[in-house]
Amino acid sequence: MTGVATPARPAPSPSPPGDQPKAVTRQTPPWRLSDRVGLVACWAMGILFCAIAAAIVIYFLVQGLKYLRPDMLWTRPHQGFTQAQTGGLQDPLLGTLLVGAMGMAIALPVGVAIAVWLSEYGRPSALARVVESTVEAIAGTPSIVLALFGTLIFSNTALGFLTRTSEGVVFGRSFFAAGAMLSLVALPLVVGSTREGLQAIPQHIREASYAAGKTKAATTRRILLPACRPQVATGAMLGLGRIIGDTAIIVVLLAATLNFETVGSVPILDVLKGTGGTLTSYVYQASPTGELDQPEKAYAAATILLLMVLLLNAAVDVVHRRARQAGTWSS
């Protein structure tokens, strides 16, 4: 550090005595007006972001306190024209949980498997590159396009056992259909996060396991996957957040009905084969532009939705902090 300062300080110089202290005290180079304006713009934008987020959360919490009643959670919604007639939010709430569970039941194992293949096997390398771009392409596909593709798949007669069929025509809309397509929405997030975790594990950990005579498969299952559990959990929660928040696939592939409409008489299967709605589709329909048009109910449902998202965010934070406390790999 002193090396930098020395050339600036001339030895017994002929310069006037007033110059020397000035050159030493001015440590930072000058900021022009345009730079200062830029910094102010940075602050303004940062504060604006915080203000928008705070406004959204506070606004919905206030509306939620006004319109959300605990009994809405276990009363079923009805068609109607007034607040009193339209009932509660039980079916959409259960629908959201159901769709989230089904989507993750597919996305989690498939996503982890893809990440393991990419990070641990990845041969031939050309295939690995294609897989990488495939995952990116799925992430970039609008969910409305996925939904339309879903109507093609599930109105196939071969998959008729998954939805309602009448006289050979397959309806193609059910919890199965929506769950399967929603898993594609969550898949890229699970793959990305798991892969990041696997790549952060140093090579010598794997080598130690091979040296102990373990196969690659056993190493992956017993050592690598347990070691990157926080990243898998993060990916799963981000994916779940995306599934819960999706509306387009629900409207197209779940028919977005107010109540569960069951098909058949087998206890659980009848719901899964039938149609229904989730909180997102309920908000969509209860908004002034929707068919139900009950804004106060929409506020209540949106508040629950926002609380779920906040909870997931907080969970991701906790997992991150735990993982950081547990420490990283030392070489």
């Binding site: 180079p29 830029g38 713009a41 606004y59 498997a113 293949w117 096997y121 593709f149 196969t215 387009a248």
Partner: protein, 344 residues
């Protein structure tokens, strides 16, 4: 002569039994094949999606040719005619000129991406370099929260807060009267759509931009500072320039998200097949329209009618194609920037 090992001397852990077998149950080869098959089936799914969407879209493109993308007539009437021709059982009608929808997509997406790009760049520079510690600790969760709010919640906020505000305070009675014969100005508008879409896509940009900016080697900045250039200029000239591939990547991702946004835009854009005209002056910003993706979701009940079904798939094909072209453009742009540094 080798003596056979007595079995009782070496009791084997059942977990390690596979060491003695030629083909253990979960041998590496089998696991690799199994995972490979899964991976290939995901690729097959994507290829099938592209192929089937384009096959189903083909009749609509074939009947209209390039006029599909051009202006002409009212889009909403055309969609209704197409739908009815499938229901009535007569000759299918495919005539469809999507220009108002495409123009609206360009305006809404372009406007939101431009505003979000400037705002996100400022915020990510702020987060990475200039914000004090406490501000950084507030901003990071805020960005994550804004990114994870469901689009339908943004839409509800738009319909119940922003749209009435625009309708009641920003549109004068005289401007409503001036276009009364053509469209209705009620607050469902381009401005509302762009505003909310900006808030939706900016967090995506911020998170990718700031990852890229953080990856710039500290010593490069220190080199610039040692030359007597101030912190602000050093950061913009060195770090932001180095992180350009990340900026391209974030912009591409955010644009793809904006293109595919259906639900929120269906709620606030006004849902009218009208092409806003910049020549209208300030009214332009409060004119209603409807981009491509929301058109699919508002007309989703038409899927039962075959020609309408194919027209909707044609819209989906256009979305899919633009998303693909976008990633291609991003890839090309990043490639030409790689000579600076591979930060992305």
């Amino acid at each position: 002569m080798t003596r056979p090992l007595p079995e009782e001397v070496l009791p084997l852990d059942p977990e390690e039994q596979h060491l003695l077998q030629d083909q253990p149950r979960w041998s590496d080869r089998r696991v690799e094949l199994l995972l490979g098959a899964l991976v290939c089936s995901v690729i097959a799914l994507l290829v099938a999606m592209i192929v089937f969407v384009f096959i189903h879209a083909w009749p609509s493109f074939a009947h209209n040719g390039l006029a599909w993308f051009g202006p002409g007539g009212s889009v909403d009437n055309q969609l209704q005619t197409i739908f009815q021709s499938g229901e009535s059982g007569g000759q299918y009608v495919y005539t469809f000129h999507a220009w108002p929808l495409i123009w609206s997509t360009i305006l809404v997406t372009g406007g939101a991406v431009l505003i979000a790009l400037v705002a996100s760049l400022l915020v990510s520079v702020f987060i990475v370099e200039f914000a004090p510690e406490w501000m950084r600790n507030v901003l990071q969760p805020v960005v994550r929260l804004l990114a994870s709010v469901p689009s339908v919640v943004y839409g509800l906020l738009g319909v119940l807060v922003i749209v009435p505000f625009i309708g009641n305070h920003l549109i004068t009675e005289s401007s409503k009267a001036s276009v009364a014969g053509v469209i209705q100005l009620s607050g469902y508008s381009l401005a509302a759509a762009v505003l909310i879409l900006t808030v939706m896509i900016a967090p995506i940009m911020v998170s990718i931009f700031s990852d890229g900016l953080r990856a710039v080697p500290r010593s490069w900045l220190e080199g610039s500072l040692a030359m007597g250039i101030n912190r602000w200029r050093s950061f913009w000239k060195i770090a932001v320039r180095t992180a350009r591939p990340a900026i391209v990547a974030g912009t591409v991702l955010a644009t793809a998200r904006a293109l595919g946004e259906a639900v929120m835009l269906a709620m606030v854009s006004g849902s009218v097949g009208f092409a806003p005209n910049p020549a209208d002056g300030l009214i332009f910003f409060v004119e209603p329209s409807r981009p491509l993706a929301p058109t699919i979701i508002t007309r989703i009940d038409d899927l039962a009618s075959k020609p309408a079904n194919q027209t909707l798939f044609a819209i989906a094909a256009v979305l899919l194609f633009s998303a693909a072209m976008l990633s291609l453009a991003g890839w090309v742009a990043k490639r030409s920037m790689k000579r600076y540094l591979a930060v992305a």
